[in-house]
């Protein structure tokens, strides 16, 4: 579904992504793991074409629809959640008649009330949910979620992870980036551990690490490098 080969990106003299290689298969939840500044968001932006890569190759399955939820979502504060989704739905050329029921369903899916509450009164968690709903517009095959649980409280995180799990079961392919390892361990199938733009190691749910948790593997790898 997605193949990244030898990706490189530098800002001025600073290399933020260095020779990164990974592949995301259809139907799996793949994680980019790493501390802040590891190059996770830059990698995502390169995949989405928001940032130009210096070197390497990104291959995406032809005709695939992508949904993206940013790490710091911003929506015009004077709009309601429905109005914001309506705007992005129109940009995606979703027919007007279809859009309204789609939005109703999406708001329900992400657990947001379909009311007159303005976005300026939204909590950070509600903003994340709205960003998630916006990513689901147009039924994408591939979801890219940048820090989907950032700013959420414990309950919000659990709900978000359950939602990701539901989407996975419905056949969606998901690439997500997070530094909250418990979340990753709960929903992801595979992932790579990054530091300063490089891959330190890989992680797979299937593999036996001798009883070690992802957190322990992460600390071992990042600590040693």
């Amino acid at each position: 579904m997605l193949k990244c080969q030898n990706l490189k990106k530098s800002y001025k003299e600073k290399c933020v992504v260095n020779n990164l290689c990974f592949q995301v298969n259809k139907g799996e939840v793949f994680a980019l793991l790493g501390a802040n500044g590891a190059g996770k968001t830059t990698t995502i932006k390169m995949i989405l074409g928001l940032v130009k890569k210096d070197e390497g190759e990104i291959t995406l399955e032809e005709g695939m629809k992508i949904g993206y939820s940013p790490d710091t979502p911003f929506f015009p504060p004077f709009l309601t959640g429905r109005e914001a989704l309506n705007y992005y739905g129109k940009l995606q050329k979703i027919p007007k008649k279809e859009l309204s029921p789609i939005i109703t369903e999406l708001l329900e899916t992400v657990g947001l009330d379909d009311d007159k509450t303005k976005i300026k009164n939204y909590s950070k968690g509600m903003l994340q949910r709205l960003a998630f709903a916006q990513a689901l517009l147009g039924e994408p095959d591939f979801l890219i979620l940048d820090e989907p649980t950032a700013g959420l409280d414990a309950l919000g995180r659990i709900e978000m992870m359950e939602l990701i799990g539901r989407l996975k079961r419905s056949g969606k392919t998901i690439l997500l980036n997070s530094h909250i390892l418990n979340d990753i361990e709960r929903v992801c199938d595979r992932g790579i551990i990054m530091k300063k733009g490089k891959t330190l190691g890989t992680w797979s749910k299937e593999q036996d690490y001798g009883g070690k948790s992802l957190e322990e593997i992460f600390v071992e790898l990042v600590g040693a490098n």
């Binding site: 928001l50 130009k52 940013p70 911003f74 705007y87 940009l91 916006q134």
Partner: protein
């Protein structure tokens, strides 16, 4: 025009447009109050036909500054708050994105100009010259040409340069534009390198004074130069092309 409509809605709801335009209206009302007089070479001007063009100069000056203010941050704000990400990934080209935002800026400036023209309407009514009210309509659209030029230029500069630099260049071009005639006069007096430089500047900078003067001609009864209007439209078209050329490297 989904993006443009959305951006206009945002500007209207943020109320900055009204606040700034109302300040302009207040300035106009103050000048048109019964106690205040406008004098040229010590001679007070009291009749409506001569006062109206002077008021148009004031409206033009305020609207031009307003156009810079309203257009400078629209596009950079989109990138700053990363709403651009959600637009880019939906396959919207930069040309369409930036053009629609620039159109939104232009329309917002026209709305502000409309609010300013309320001052002109009040002034006309206060002078009991209801018969002149219709003249405000063509004057509004002719002056809108100059305002669109300033707004589009500011929007375009905001893609290329950081905010302060873009604002500064736009302000310099705008001032040179409204004082075009004065600079031309000065250019005739100086020679050498300064003269040549001034010639180049005057060739590049759109003559905003000339456009505004055509609106004034409606009130004085002088003929309107179609050439100036067409030139104004041509500059707008040229600036529009700029949105196809200048692009952001990253969202």
């Amino acid at each position: 025009m989904i993006i443009a409509a959305h951006a206009i809605k945002e500007k209207i709801r943020r109320k900055e447009l009204y606040i700034v335009a109302m300040i302009g209206v207040l300035v106009l009302i103050l000048f048109s109050a019964d106690g205040s007089t406008i004098s040229i070479a010590g001679k007070p001007i009291t009749d409506y036909d001569n006062l109206a063009p002077i008021f148009l100069i004031m409206v033009n000056a305020i609207c031009g500054a307003l156009a810079i203010f309203l257009s400078l941050k629209t596009i950079p704000n989109e990138y700053e708050r990363k709403t651009s990400h959600l637009v880019w990934i939906r396959g919207i080209s930069q040309t369409r994105y930036h053009s629609e935002l620039a159109i939104a800026n232009g329309i917002s400036c026209m709305l502000a100009e409309g609010i300013m023209f309320i001052g002109m309407i009040l002034f006309t009514l206060m002078k009991h010259r209801q018969d002149q009210l219709w003249k405000l309509i063509p004057a509004y659209f002719i002056m809108a040409l100059g305002i669109w030029i300033v707004s589009l230029l500011t929007s375009l500069l905001s893609i290329i340069f950081p905010g302060m630099v873009a604002g500064l260049i736009a302000a310099i071009v705008y001032l040179a534009g409204i004082f075009h005639s004065v600079l031309e006069l000065f250019g005739n007096m100086v020679s050498g390198l300064v003269g040549k430089l001034l010639d180049i500047v005057l060739w590049i900078v759109p003559n905003l004074h000339e456009i505004q003067a055509q609106a004034g001609n409606i009130f004085t009864g002088s003929s309107i130069s179609i050439h100036v209007i067409v030139k104004g439209l041509f500059i707008i078209w040229l600036l529009g092309l700029g949105f196809m050329i200048f692009k952001k490297k990253e969202a």
